[in-house]
């Protein structure tokens, strides 16, 4: 019993460290957003920080660092289904017939310049 209560004492200490880390990363993500890296790097950095914060919450507050196998299985399935859904959503963007997109011939050029990663898919 005494060993258990010691465990929880050291756990509580870790919760405070995690709290500190989460505050730090929150400040970091706001700070970094003032530096204009451009959209792609900006999104990557912001999502990376969010992922780090998310995994801190999940592994410590949600006790995932010491959980039973079945929970991990549920989570892995969730990740697979979530990524599949997101892929379907994004894929649907490239499945719109030519005439139905925002682009018309004159405007098309400026839109392409704004969104350079779109024009390869248009050829299909």
């Amino acid at each position: 019993m005494s060993e258990k209560s010691h465990d929880i004492k050291s756990e509580i200490k870790i919760y405070y460290y995690v709290f500190g880390a989460l505050i730090f990363f929150s400040a970091l993500t706001v700070g970094v957003s003032y530096i204009h890296f451009g959209l792609i790097i900006g999104i990557t950095v912001a999502l990376l920080i969010a992922l780090v914060k998310g995994s801190l919450v999940a592994s410590h507050f949600m006790h995932l660092k010491s959980e039973k196998k079945l929970v991990y299985f549920v989570l892995i399935m969730t990740v697979i289904f979530f990524l599949s859904m997101m892929t379907l959503f994004i894929a649907s963007f490239y499945d719109v017939p030519e005439g139905l997109k925002f682009l018309d011939k004159e405007k098309g050029k400026t839109i392409k310049q704004q969104l350079p990663n779109h024009h390869e898919e248009k050829k299909h």
Binding site: K4, S5, I8, K9, E11, I12, Y15, Y16, V18, F19, L22, I23, S26, A27, T29, V30, S33, L39, G42, I43, A46, L47, I49, A50, K53, G54, V57, A58, H60, F61, M62, H63, K68, K69, L70, V71, V74, L75, M77, T78, F81, F82, M85, M86, L88, F89, I90, S92, F93, F102, I111, Q114, L115, H118
Partner: protein
């Protein structure tokens, strides 16, 4: 009374008490709910001609404040569970109170943000960005309210179980905590994508 078995002892085949498996499956469905909207956000954004920079149209300091508030409430939630593990009911009450009050503080800040937008005549119909902004943050706010309801029950009448079946009560707090940390986790992703990018 005990219609649901394995509220304390883990089931042999799952290795978990039933409520824990239940909440994780529920959270998986929640990931799909929010995931669908996150995917919509990505689709709407890559499909749109213009997209405002979040920090130009929203109040970043208020959003950051709400991030701090929600992270703090996550900490007090896990501390309330740890307090029960230490058999310290007063500490448990203090931390769960703090969790609920922080959640309400989050809602107050959020309502100020919404109010500022509405008073400027900005509603979801304003643009695709505001449509997805109000949908995502609105759904998230409902989840915060749901957490307040559950935690208030556990702090009020629910605490009686501490006397009759303490281990089961600790498990209830853990499960409520898992939900609450998930709500925090969603905000951790919502804040940068809506406010900063």
């Amino acid at each position: 009374m005990d219609t649901i078995p394995f509220t304390v002892q883990p089931r042999e085949d799952t290795g978990l008490f039933n409520a824990k498996l239940g909440i994780w499956i529920f959270l998986a469905s929640e990931v799909m709910l929010f995931g669908g909207l996150f995917s919509s956000y990505v689709l709407l954004r890559i499909g749109s001609i213009t997209w405002p920079l979040g920090s130009d149209v929203l109040n970043v300091p208020l959003g950051a404040l709400n991030t701090i508030i929600l992270i703090s409430s996550s900490v007090t939630m896990v501390l309330s569970w740890a307090a029960l593990k230490e058999k310290n009911l007063n500490k448990f009450r203090f931390n769960l109170w703090a969790t609920i009050l922080l959640a309400l503080a989050f809602m107050v800040v959020k309502s100020f943000e919404y109010g500022a937008k509405f008073s400027h005549g900005i509603f979801p119909k304003e643009s695709t960005y505001f449509a997805i902004y109000f949908t995502l943050t609105g759904l998230h706010a409902f989840h915060v309210l749901g957490g307040v309801v559950v935690n208030s029950y556990l702090l009020g009448p629910g605490t009686k179980m501490w006397k009759t079946d303490p281990e089961r009560f600790v498990n209830r707090i853990e499960v409520a905590g898992l939900y609450w940390h998930f709500v925090d986790l969603v905000w951790i992703f919502l804040f940068p994508i809506l406010y900063l990018l």
